[in-house]
Symmetry: C2
Subunit: 165 residues, 2 copies
């Protein structure tokens, strides 16, 4: 039997992937970071089917990533704003964008360059760093059970560690 | 008319989202970073339908994220290894995992903690930084056309800049 939802997994990536692991969801988030906020703005910019857009916006509201509120009090038109949880997906969107810059478009071929408003200079590549600032690749890290991990997970990690790399 | 593929977009996020914006693709990548490499290892660990797994693996090979090679020369069993392009998706996977740690499981509730093998200490949160090291949020950055952006894109950006935030 295969699973269709990842919501019962004791894995943060599974839960995040279940929520934002969808191409249209990522594009809606991109547009929200650009400042778009209404259904018609998203629909026009993404050329997305209305039922798909509606489904994805509802899901983003349900998971607390977008907040839906009337454009003006008493009006039945809504705008969708990023919550704090939504704002914190920015590194994910930028990391994906930078990966596409490098691996789809290639050096000097990136359509857009992300620049720091204060200095006008391109931003750094998003990367994983140790506390002392060293950049880390997958081979440089490992996982240990969290401070309140369920006993079952601790036992599984003691029994069956991820392969050393 | 709605679009079903994002492959003609002049946008790196659209292209990345088209390639890895799928929950099973993200889970397969997670497992590949953990060191899993064969069809049966992925299938057993993810409890994923075989046709879905096969489709996602083929796509990852086609896009140059995984490399498929015989387990041993002349054997018709294959293993899937991350290419350099695949390795560079690590910050995306970690950023999504850290988001889930914070916003799904909450403080001290993360199932697993990612630690630096060299020092044994938890890694930093993945974030976007300016060249001088300042952490940047969406409001702190803007986009400009890339060095070789097509004239059409440059004109669109001159005409219709993303809203100031």
């Amino acid at each position: 039997m295969s699973r269709t939802s990842l919501e019962h997994w004791q894995c943060s990536l599974a839960r995040s992937a279940d929520i934002v692991g969808d191409k249209w969801t990522l594009m809606i988030l991109r547009d929200a970071f650009f400042g778009l906020s209404t259904f018609s703005q998203f629909q026009k910019n993404l050329q997305i089917a209305r039922n798909v857009l509606s489904d994805r916006l509802d899901k983003l509201v349900q998971y607390g990533i977008l907040r839906r509120e009337p454009v003006r009090p008493g009006v039945e038109r809504y705008r969708y704003q990023l919550t704090e949880a939504g704002q914190e997906l920015f590194p994910v969107i930028v990391a994906l964008t930078q990966w596409g810059d490098k691996w789809v478009f290639g050096a000097q071929g990136e359509p857009l360059v992300l620049v720091d408003r204060e200095k006008g200079a391109p931003v750094q590549a998003v990367g994983l760093q140790a506390r002392d600032g060293r950049y880390l690749r997958a081979a440089d890290v490992t996982f240990v059970p969290g401070p309140n991990a369920p006993a079952e997970l601790v036992a599984r990690y003691a029994r069956q560690r991820p392969p050393e790399r």
